[in-house]
């Protein structure tokens, strides 16, 4: 780094290509170890599996779990998986479970590209350790195949593209803003938003905050010949990004905010228990990561205007977390949404700042310890030592990398006959009456069929959740056939699925419904322990 605060030209070289290959291989090894050859998803993934199953069959713009309702969350992730499933001919389940490798694997690559292009190779390598080892959120979530994590890929690539668009960055000193990169940034901002709106918000906030911080810390009014990041061209670039992204995300934003009114959804006010665990919120496994982040933020604020997005993103993420803590825990009336996701995005930014802090400190220590110019490369060793000190304690959490995984294979094998029967004998629009977990994971998640009610946390905000859950409980427990038939008609139900634990219980259940005119036993499936009844007059 030159003393005027500008890096030399940051051209990529063969060494970077080798490092990227190594990163990819290391990711596959880590993901392979965590999954141990099993097909793994998260509980949330069943929601996305259901939509991908529907999309694969051409049913895109509708709720994948409840009949007659519109779509209600960002379709990007399921759309990608459904497309790849059709192209490759592989089942949706396989494509989703393998996305830990081919999609989440883009996370470290995008992070390396971003930090490498903004700072240097050493900082980029340290950033990988700072984020994926130093942050317990990322140690335990980086492999999660959910949109909130996978959406960080376009978020990071968007920041990389934005950084390339800034005058004086892309080519180490040319003043001309790179409008093509600003357009690409707008496209990536739209992609991030379609994958997960919060990821788009983080990217937009980071860009906006960079412009504001630039005004605060770089004296925009004094845009003289030395100031490459003068305000006017940067604001123009930002507006270009906003126009491109705004046009492309308008249908999504309009639908979610004005049709679904997702901003009022209880789901957005979910307060994860991890937000109260020091390991997550305070980096307790690697506490030095926090001061390293602050040191890096200070260095960026003083000397690196091109990296101000990292500080801005961290600030925005802290505000999002604070709203969550105050609104949920302290009882204040503060609107908030998904504070846990703000926390992991904040730790992503903090990790980048921490890498900058560690790399900068190591350069200064290296210059002090070794003679200037002749042994500067030894500062790399200091960087390794500092990164080890600050972030390596987080290695204690690496064994928890798969802590949120659900193994799919036992569920898929146990329900194979049931799913085959459903796929061969019913249509995607058919509604099933069944216990909500069976419905969420198997009926919706693995076959794409519809249910009366599914997991409350994964239900369309437009649905009357309480009424649906109450009606479902009534339908599964009532001995009143008329009431059952009436509720069945209300939801357009075609099938009743009743699980059983033993043959005696199955016989008892069969006897219970034997005399009902509206239901007819059509299959007793012992592998998954389910009786399937057809509701003959309810539809």
């Amino acid at each position: 780094v030159s003393q005027d605060g500008h890096h030399p030209v940051r051209r990529f070289s063969a060494a970077d290509a080798i490092i990227l290959l190594f990163i990819g291989a290391a990711w596959c090894a880590a993901a392979g170890k965590a999954t141990a050859g099993r097909r793994c998803v998260l509980y949330d993934t069943f929601r996305d599996l259901a939509w991908a199953e529907n999309m694969r069959a051409g049913r895109i713009w509708a709720d994948p779990a409840l009949s007659g309702l519109p779509w209600w969350y960002a379709p990007g992730g399921p759309l990608i998986v459904a497309g790849l499933s059709r192209l490759s001919g592989r089942p949706v389940v396989d494509v989703y479970s393998s996305s830990i490798f081919w999609f989440n694997g883009l996370l470290p690559i995008a992070l390396y590209l971003l930090v490498r292009s903004t700072w240097d190779r050493m900082t980029a390598i340290v950033a990988l350790v700072a984020v994926f080892v130093g942050s317990y959120w990322w140690t335990t979530h980086a492999l999660c195949n959910i949109p909130g994590i996978q959406g960080a890929v376009p978020l990071l690539l968007g920041l990389w593209s934005w950084n390339r668009s800034l005058p004086g960055v892309a080519d180490g000193g040319r003043r001309k803003p790179q409008t093509a990169f600003a357009v690409v940034t707008g496209l990536l901002l739209a992609a991030a938003t379609w994958l997960h709106p919060l990821c788009g918000m983080m990217l937009a906030a980071a860009i906006f905050a960079q412009v504001v911080l630039l005004a605060l810390t770089a004296g925009v009014a004094k845009a003289d010949q030395h100031l490459h990041l003068a305000a006017i061209p940067v604001v123009r670039l930002m507006l270009l990004v906003a126009v491109v992204a705004g046009l492309l995300t308008a249908p999504l934003v309009y639908h979610l905010m004005f049709k679904v009114k997702a901003q009022h959804s209880l789901m957005l006010r979910f307060f994860a228990s991890e937000l109260l665990e020091p390991g997550f919120y305070a980096n307790a496994l690697a506490p030095l990561a926090v001061p390293a982040g602050l040191l890096g933020a200070w260095y960026i604020l003083r000397h690196e205007p091109t990296g101000l997005w990292a500080v801005g993103m961290w600030l925005f993420a802290l505000l999002g977390q604070l709203a969550g803590y105050l609104g949920s825990r302290a009882g204040y009336y503060v609107p908030y949404m998904l504070p846990h996701e703000f926390q992991w995005h904040g730790q992503l930014a903090a990790g980048i700042c921490g890498a900058v802090g560690a790399a900068e400190l190591s350069c200064r220590i290296g210059l002090r310890l070794f003679c200037r110019g002749c042994r500067q490369n030894l500062s790399g060793l200091v960087a390794v030592a500092l990164a080890g000190l600050a972030f390596a304690p987080g290695l204690r959490g690496v064994k928890e990398a798969g802590r949120y995984f659900m193994e799919l294979d036992p569920l898929v094998e146990r329900t194979s006959v049931l799913r085959d029967w459903i796929c061969q004998n019913t249509s995607l629009e058919d509604v099933f009456v069944c216990p909500r977990e069976l419905g969420y994971q198997v009926i919706c998640g693995l076959t794409g069929r519809k249910c009366v009610a599914v997991s409350p946390g994964h239900t369309n905000p437009l649905a009357d959740l309480r009424q649906r859950l109450a009606d479902l409980d009534t339908m599964l427990s009532t001995a009143d056939e008329r009431l059952f038939a009436s509720l069945g008609r209300k939801y357009g139900a075609r099938y009743l699925l009743v699980p059983y634990q033993s043959e005696q219980e199955a016989e008892a259940l069969a006897r219970r419904y034997r005399d009902w005119r509206h239901v007819r036993l059509i299959l007793a499936e012992p592998q998954s322990g389910v009786l399937i009844f057809q509701m003959v007059e309810a539809g």
């Binding site: 305070a282 307790a284 506490p287 600030l315 604070l322």
Partner: protein
């Protein structure tokens, strides 16, 4: 001096942090407020120094060291 003192103070705080956490002495909201406050102070301080110096941040590097 600012950067040095920041390093010292934050390193001390970080070393004490696990003890506070073990004792349950740090509220999550308090931790986030503290972090947000620290970051906001850095922003304000950087803005103040830049305007005081009347130069570019890069040119002020030596003064900050």
């Amino acid at each position: 001096m600012t950067a040095r003192w920041l390093c010292v103070m934050t390193a001390v705080a970080a070393l004490l942090l696990p003890h506070w956490l073990d004792g349950g002495g740090v509220d999550p909201a308090g931790f986030v407020i503290g972090l947000l406050g620290a970051l906001a102070l850095l922003v304000v301080r950087a803005a103040f120094l830049t305007r005081q110096e009347g130069t570019l941040p890069g040119h002020a590097a030596e003064a900050d060291n």
